[in-house]
């Protein structure tokens, strides 16, 4: 059994504040060693279908540690997108295809109870590039009952625009986005069967934050039953705050329940709540998961489904992501463990299948396709009185994981 450690107090008050806090908080914990995650490789196929959009592709993640104190990881992720979403239909464009390739590299260094991590991610589409660098530090405290994490990310994106007719990149359009993210978190063992975590993250973006293809709509000046379109205008800065509390509880038999809540606000006036709950049940070589997630948000200050006139205000958006809506998700998962006793260099492996059904119900985003119908069509509805939009999505994940 590990004994609690003693602390030697600095004798002189001239020690700096920072030095004192670091000495008291970090040094006592440095006498016992932490642990890095196991060597592991995952190969995943993902598929999303919903709202006229299909996105699928692979994700491969490999991590390996050396000398129990260094670890490296690499991830390749790809999205292959086919989209004829409601936004594409309303803009009058035809179905489009595009691809996104993302590479991530990470390194970790464990020293005593402290883990330092560095990461780099590069994401490329033909009209969008993003680079993100992250730094993190994690510290185990109080006999490993508590883990404190801190992280910082810096992102630089470049937004380009494709001509929707010729499919060529517009050489005159190139806009940057700068991103900063600050994270702190605490993971706490509360009892022999209960663990919790609290996370806080502040993200600031600055640059061209709207989608260069999306339009807002306003009442057609010559016929108020119809609408016209104009390019969206967003503020050039956004800062968001999110705080999340999660807990996992081990039941009296071998199974676990978990729950979580996240509160979100930002400088665009969006407020959101996310609730999650789930149950995990192992049975022989299988593990089954079932979960439910509820999300709701109110709209951004400059969002409107239908503006009264062109340039009605400085900022104008009609992105349904900025509208008032709810989403609900039901998640089912099954994991089968193979070679549980190992085979050659493999310690164990799992085959996993997850399915999520997500339902999005919008409160102030209307299905504008109804007012684009000929006026004589029995389904025609004037602009502003179309039915509210909603859609369901099916999300599949099939992956194999190997520990070595």
């Amino acid at each position: 059994m590990k004994k609690a450690w003693g602390v030697e107090l600095p004798a002189r008050a001239s020690v700096s504040w920072l030095g004192l806090v670091l000495a008291l908080v970090l040094l006592p914990a440095a006498s016992f060693a932490g642990v890095l995650a196991d060597d592991r490789a995952d190969a995943l196929y993902h598929r999303y279908e919903g709202g006229g959009v299909t996105i699928h592709g692979p994700s491969v993640l490999v991590r390996k540690k050396f000398a129990e104190k260094y670890a490296i990881s690499a991830n390749y992720y790809q999205d292959m997108v086919t989209s004829a979403s409601i936004d594409v239909e309303v803009s009058g464009a035809s179905e489009y295809h595009e691809e996104r390739d993302q590479w991530s590299l990470g390194a970790e260094y464990l020293r005593g109870k402290t883990t330092y991590s560095l990461g780099y991610t590069n994401s490329k589409e033909n009209d969008y590039q993003a680079e993100t660098t992250t730094f993190g530090i994690s510290q185990d405290l109080f006999g490993d009952l508590t883990t404190i994490t801190m992280g910082f990310s810096r992102g630089k994106d470049v937004v380009r625009r494709r001509d929707t007719i010729t499919d060529r990149i517009d050489p005159n359009f190139k806009e940057p986005i700068d991103r900063w993210s600050y994270r702190v978190g605490v993971s706490q063992i509360l009892t022999k069967a209960l663990i919790s975590s609290l996370q806080l993250e502040v993200i600031t973006d600055e640059g061209f934050l709207n989608n260069p293809y999306r339009s807002y709509r306003f009442v057609n000046p010559s016929n108020n039953q119809l609408f016209s379109l104009a390019p969206e205008q967003y503020p050039r800065t956004r800062t968001s705050n999110a705080i999340a509390l999660n807990a996992r509880y081990y039941l009296p038999y071998r199974a676990a329940v978990h729950g979580g809540y996240r509160f979100f606000t930002d400088t665009w006036g969006i407020g959101a709540n996310t609730f999650e709950a789930g149950y995990t049940h192992p049975w022989r070589q299988w593990t089954f998961d079932v979960g439910y997630r509820f999300y709701s948000q109110n709209n951004a200050d400059f969002y409107s489904d239908l503006f009264e006139r062109r340039d009605e205000q400085n900022f104008l958006a009609r992105d349904k992501e900025l509208s008032t809506f709810k989403s609900q998700a039901l998640s089912l998962g099954a994991t089968y463990e193979f070679v549980p006793n190992g085979w050659r260099f493999i310690k164990k492996g799992t085959l996993n299948f997850y399915y999520d059904r997500i339902q999005f119900d919008y409160d102030d985003f209307r299905d504008a396709r109804y007012s684009m119908l000929p006026a004589a069509d029995p389904n025609f509805r004037p602009a502003g009185s179309e039915p509210l939009y909603s859609f369901g999505a099916n999300v599949f994940q099939l992956f194999v994981s190997v520990w070595f």
Partner: protein, 74 residues
């Protein structure tokens, strides 16, 4: 200066107290917590994907334990 010294000493005493906290769940009592079903993130490749699915379609973002990254998927 006296105030600062007082605060410094108070902080030192409080933090020294932290150092002497006796772990109330002993290492040998953490069998259930060590079970893989108690992991917050048992499959990082899957968690990163499903977080991305929601991030790309909802206004809220962050505090989900991952570092995130930019993409033009909004």
């Amino acid at each position: 200066m006296q105030v600062r010294t007082g605060i410094l000493l108070a902080a030192a005493v409080v933090l020294a107290g932290c150092g002497n906290i006796e772990p109330w769940v002993k290492p040998y009592e953490r069998q259930a917590l060590a079970d893989p079903i108690m992991s917050f993130d048992p499959n990082p490749v899957s968690t990163a994907y499903i977080d991305h699915v929601f991030d790309a379609r909802e206004g809220a973002r962050g505090a989900n334990g991952t570092a995130g990254g930019g993409c033009g998927c909004n």
